[in-house]
């Protein structure tokens, strides 16, 4: 049984300089109220791990616009010219990671693996500085696990114990990120009593969630 807290109260838990895993894909399935609360609270020097930085004025793009991000570990910044500008000016460090490698690195952090052995990135700039491991005569990059101080997730429904459901393409990185942070905060669209979400419909077990954000204003 969880208590629901406000997005503002959640932002209070998150110090400047934190590493945040933030769910979402071009803003779809991103915790929009928590992002707004972080901006409201003036958080800065954040390291953000996410699929992308969305677009200016949308989701993670808002954090970019206010200069809250010191480092972004993402697969794509093509739709956010502000990210590209801050990267070129040196205001923001950007580590570009192939999308499949990014999700596996976060998963490895979440499930306690020592790393990921992948063929993705071999023969490209992605392999620079990385250890290679030979398995059965084939070469793989050793990609390191990623963990966050906080995971900020968006979900469709939560129940009172924190079990989560996601909708269509709003799943994306959210279920994997739920495993990979010290403190996991979920922002559901609605919160339903225990038993409303049947066991087989649960995508992320509530035991992984530390805090629930109160439901969206009606």
């Amino acid at each position: 049984m969880r208590e629901a807290i406000s997005a503002a109260a959640a932002a209070e838990l998150i110090p400047d300089g934190s590493t945040l895993l933030i769910g979402g894909f071009m803003g779809v399935g991103s915790p929009l109220r928590m992002i707004d609360a972080l901006i409201e609270a003036g958080r800065k020097d954040l390291t953000v791990v996410a699929n992308d930085t969305a677009m200016p004025g949308r989701a993670i793009g808002k954090l970019v616009s206010v200069g809250a991000i010191r480092k972004a570990i993402v697969s794509h910044i093509g739709l956010n010219p502000e990210t590209q500008a801050q990267m070129i000016s040196g205001e923001m460090e950007v580590e570009l990671v192939p999308q499949g490698t990014l999700v596996e690195r976060i998963r490895a952090g979440g499930v306690g693996l020592g790393g990921v052995l992948t063929a993705t990135g071999i023969g490209t700039p992605v392999e620079e500085g990385k250890q290679k491991v030979e398995v059965n005569g084939k070469s793989y990059l050793l990609e390191l696990p990623i963990k966050g101080d906080f995971a900020l997730l968006a979900a469709n429904r939560a129940d009172y114990v924190g079990n989560l459901e996601f909708s269509l393409t709003a799943h994306n990185f959210n279920p994997v990120m739920a495993l990979a942070a010290e403190t996991v905060i979920a922002e559901p669209t609605s919160i339903v009593p225990i038993g409303v979400i049947p066991p087989d419909a649960v995508k992320t077990p509530g035991v992984l969630i530390d805090h629930l954000i109160e439901r969206a204003p009606v």
Partner: protein, 217 residues
Amino acid sequence: MNPKERIARRVALEVQPGSLVNLGIGLPSMVANYLPEHVDVFFQAENGVIGLGARPPEGMEDPNLTDAGGGFVTAVPGAASIDSAMSFGIIRGGHLDMTVLGGLQVDQRGYLANWMVPGKMVPGMGGAMDLVAGAKRVVVAMVHTAKGTPKIVPECALPLTAERRVSLIVTEMAVIEPTEKGLVLREVASDSSVDDVLAATSAELIVDEPPAEMTLA
């Protein structure tokens, strides 16, 4: 017919019934428009749906159902929602039958560069490196030259997307198949000649047999 439509119509012929296909953003996404209506194909979008459908009717968009470019889409009956781990598990595990991607350069070895122009454009690789490394077939759909400069080159000057020979290159002028021996010219468009194609290509093309005329869906 503009060059992009022609490319999309030719690529559509590569789509096998019963297959799982990922279409990149932009030109590649146009391929879906030229398939037979009831063909038994599932489209995957790497952001998390198997069974991607057309644009939704006005006013019926769901903010939780978009393609990898963030545009609203629909889901076909029998669709499945998947998270990013499953999405890339399918891509990297060899379960995706075909991906269609745009290209900046393809070289003699059949290697593709399509994710950055150093110092100019660094959008990030997104899922492209995984798609090229993992899909069973990789089809590059691109215009033949960039403002007159050949894009099919002896060796990519741009950073590679993967060290993997792509399966097919389709342009508005030609269909070219990278093989162990090199780039084989398979088809030439009706308004081009073999010499036109050779002139617009800086890589060496193998023309063993007279190429067929390019067919379109």
